[in-house]
């Protein structure tokens, strides 16, 4: 079997590849899962890849990314020293770390962990074999293949990824850190598929990092389904620190049952082209979702956050707050679509997008959008884009603070509104440090992992102390 093909990305390539490898791909599928795969492939054949003629992709052009040519791996490459790759250390933060390398779960010979409290964490490929009933109950029920060829493609080719299951009434005692590392010596197209199930009245904190390990180009098409049961709580952090040659299409589908709570934080620090499809479905009444985003982009980087919140049941509250700082020729897109259905009375939905443009060549397209079909709702949206406030700059400089430091203070203060929503103090401190480093142009893609930038052995130094803002 051919495992490495360096070709541009075209629909035909994947159609050929699927047809050639379908038996292999579905080898471990139950009939239900095989059907999901088959259906997704049909969707992909129909949809193909999006282009700029589609409204949702009007401002994100993938042609350049597609043209680069990538390997596609149907088998994991031999694991590097996994311990070394994932020696990821947030000082004083005790996390359960699980890793993915090029989309494959890094097993360290233990593909599945069953913790005493009933929590299951491990490889999705393994889970498909070991817990077929559990997987069938949730897998593919949230990711919607109809809208986007990328999700359909992911479902058609899905092999591995991460599976986390928190049973009803169990609160995960420590945050789970999921690290996706890309490391390959050629351009790589990769897809991984994650499934997270948080039971009724259960709780999980998940820190999900996307990292590059080198400067090789990559194209990631990652789909994550997250189910939160009744009165369940999901605390979700998405950290993106990829190299400038990387393209990431990340689609996360949240389904919230009655009275479930979601806090999601999208922190985009670096990447060539980042597209976050964030879809939230209120599948029962009285749910609550807060979705925060901060993006700090420069050079020709491109970030596109597409948030869709479906208020399908009454009494739910959603709040989207996205903020960005754009330098040089960076381009950011924010599209927030809130759908309030006819029976979803007592809906409270808010959207805010604020941007600072540091240059004349940086661009923002902000499209908050409310679609409301009943009148017993509270909804608001707002969007602002501007420069650093000259009045504030004058004020700070008049007190003796140098121009660069004044800019840093204002930018950090702007970003900190989002950063200080991070509920885990050690993680918040770490992200604050990374944001500072990023704003000062000092953040590198990490040698080992995104959270390894500062350690007690190698502390970061700042010429102004903005730790106590």
């Amino acid at each position: 079997m051919q495992t490495e093909i360096k070709e541009p990305i075209t629909q035909q390539r994947f159609i050929n590849q699927f047809e050639k490898n379908q038996t292999f791909l579905s080898a471990n599928d139950t009939p239900t899962l095989a059907e999901i795969r088959e259906k997704a492939f049909t969707s992909f054949v129909k949809l193909g890849f999006p282009d700029t003629s589609m409204e949702a992709w009007r401002l994100t052009d993938l042609q350049e990314s597609f043209a680069r040519g990538y390997d596609y791996l149907l088998h994991p490459i031999k694991e590097l020293d996994a311990q070394k790759v994932f020696r990821c250390n947030i000082p004083h933060l005790d996390t359960a770390i699980i890793g993915q390398l090029n989309g494959w779960y890094v097993s360290k010979d233990v593909p599945m962990m069953e913790l005493g409290n009933g929590i299951i964490m491990g490889s999705l490929a393994e889970a498909r074999k070991k817990y077929p009933k559990l997987i069938e109950k949730y897998y593919g029920t949230m990711a919607d293949d109809a809208g986007d060829g990328f999700t359909a493609l992911n479902t058609a080719f899905a092999q591995d990824g991460v599976f986390i299951y928190v049973p009803d009434n169990v609160k995960s005692p420590k945050p789970v850190q999921l690290i996706n590392v890309i490391h390959h010596d050629k351009n790589l197209f990769l897809q991984s598929r994650n499934l997270i199930v948080v039971g009724a009245n259960a709780k999980l904190s998940l820190v999900h990092c996307d990292d590059s390990y080198n400067h090789q180009a990559s194209f990631s098409n990652i789909v994550t389904e997250i189910h939160v049961g009744e009165h369940g709580v999901m605390d979700h952090y998405k950290l993106q620190n990829l190299n400038n040659n990387s393209t990431l299409i990340s689609s996360v589908f949240f389904r919230l049952e009655a009275s479930a709570g979601l806090e999601s934080h999208y922190i985009s620090l670096n990447g060539g082209l980042l597209r976050n499809n964030i879809r939230v479905l209120f599948n029962g009444p009285n749910g609550n979702a807060n979705i925060y985003g901060i993006y700090l982009m420069d050079r020709k980087q491109h970030v596109d956050n597409q948030v869709f919140v479906d208020h399908a049941h009454p009494g739910c509250t959603s709040n989207e707050t996205f903020k960005g700082i754009l330098d040089e020729q960076a381009h950011a897109i924010f599209s927030g679509h809130v759908l309030v259905r006819r029976n979803s009375v007592k809906t409270d939905a808010r959207q805010t997008n604020k941007n600072i443009l540091l240059t004349d060549t940086a661009r923002v397209n902000s499209q908050p959008f409310l679609e409301i079909y009943n009148d017993d709702v509270k909804c608001s949206h707002g969007s602002t884009t501007g420069q650093l406030d000259p009045e504030s700059m004058f004020y700070l400089r008049q007190r003796g603070i140098g121009e660069e430091s004044a800019r840093m203070l204002l930018m950090f203060a702007f970003a900190d509104e989002i950063v200080n929503k991070i509920g885990i103090p050690q993680l918040r401190q770490r992200i604050e440090d990374m944001v500072k480093k990023r704003l000062q142009g000092e953040l590198q893609i990490c040698e080992q992992c995104v959270l390894h930038c500062s350690t007690p052995e190698h502390p970061m130094e700042f010429n102004i102390d903005i730790s106590k803002i």
Binding site: Y395, G400, I401, S405, L409, L410, I466
Partner: protein, 250 residues
């Protein structure tokens, strides 16, 4: 001489606002600048502070005998020029503590001093807070955000106390203050007076000058200082308004 302004012409977007200001301020003095609205008082304060939106088209400002023209805003501040803002800016997300620590340490760095250790800094903050009777936990809040008019002005004087400037220009610090806040602000200023520093107090009203006694009073009108005198000039203005000045100039 601390400050010497010679034939200063300045404006914004080609519109001339200051049309030949002359002013001399020595150490230990308090000068009041009064005048009707729109005569250039705030412009004069901003130009001394180096605000870049204003263009100096003629004349010069000497500070300790040195021309300020080429000095940046922050370097003027570090040399000891402080501007108390008429409308202090709200800066969400930046705490006063951190703002002041950054400012104090950047000024110290400029003077070749090491940063103030954390404990010493906090003690200094506590001491200076008392000077303007700030009792609340104002200092952990974002700079001026949600402050009342009185709190904002007290916060200006607090910052002045922290930075111990040589030349403090207070731009309508009395506007919007009730009588208690006015007294607190004025007391703060009086306690900071030293033989080696000076104050330029810009105000509309004589009221503030009951508390901060000026050595000199100047009237700025149509971009020029048209009259100077002692503190009694302020009383005369309070009584007669500005019309007689306008008529004298007509």
């Amino acid at each position: 001489m601390l400050l010497q302004i010679k034939n200063l012409h300045a404006g914004i977007n080609g519109k001339e606002i200051l049309r030949g200001v002359n002013l001399e301020v020595n150490e230990g003095e308090v000068h009041a600048i009064m005048g009707p609205n729109g005569t250039g008082k705030s412009t004069l304060a901003s130009v001394i502070a180096g605000r870049e939106v204003f263009d100096v088209t003629a004349g010069e400002i000497l500070y300790h005998g040195k021309n300020l023209q080429k000095l940046s805003i922050e370097d003027r501040a570090r040399e000891g020029i402080f501007l108390g803002f008429q409308y202090p800016v709200e800066i969400p997300g930046v705490s006063i503590t951190n703002f002041m620590r950054t400012a104090v340490n950047e000024v110290r760095k400029f003077k070749g001093l090491d940063p103030l250790p954390g404990g010493d800094f906090l003690r200094l903050m506590e001491e200076k807070k008392k000077l303007v009777e700030i009792t609340s936990n104002l200092t952990n809040r974002s700079v001026n955000e949600g402050f009342s008019g009185g709190e904002k002005k007290k916060n200006e004087i607090f910052q002045m106390a922290m930075l111990e400037p040589t030349l403090a220009i207070l731009d309508e610090t009395d506007s919007g203050l009730d009588i208690d806040a006015l007294r607190i602000v004025a007391n703060g200023v009086n306690k900071l007076r030293r033989p080696d520093n000076a104050f330029v107090v810009i105000t509309h009203y004589q009221r503030l000058l009951d508390y901060i006694i000026p050595d000199f009073v100047h009237v700025l009108f149509q971009g020029k200082i048209v009259k100077s005198g002692g503190k009694e000039l302020a009383l005369e203005l309070e009584e007669k308004g500005y019309d007689w000045i306008k008529q004298e100039q007509a």
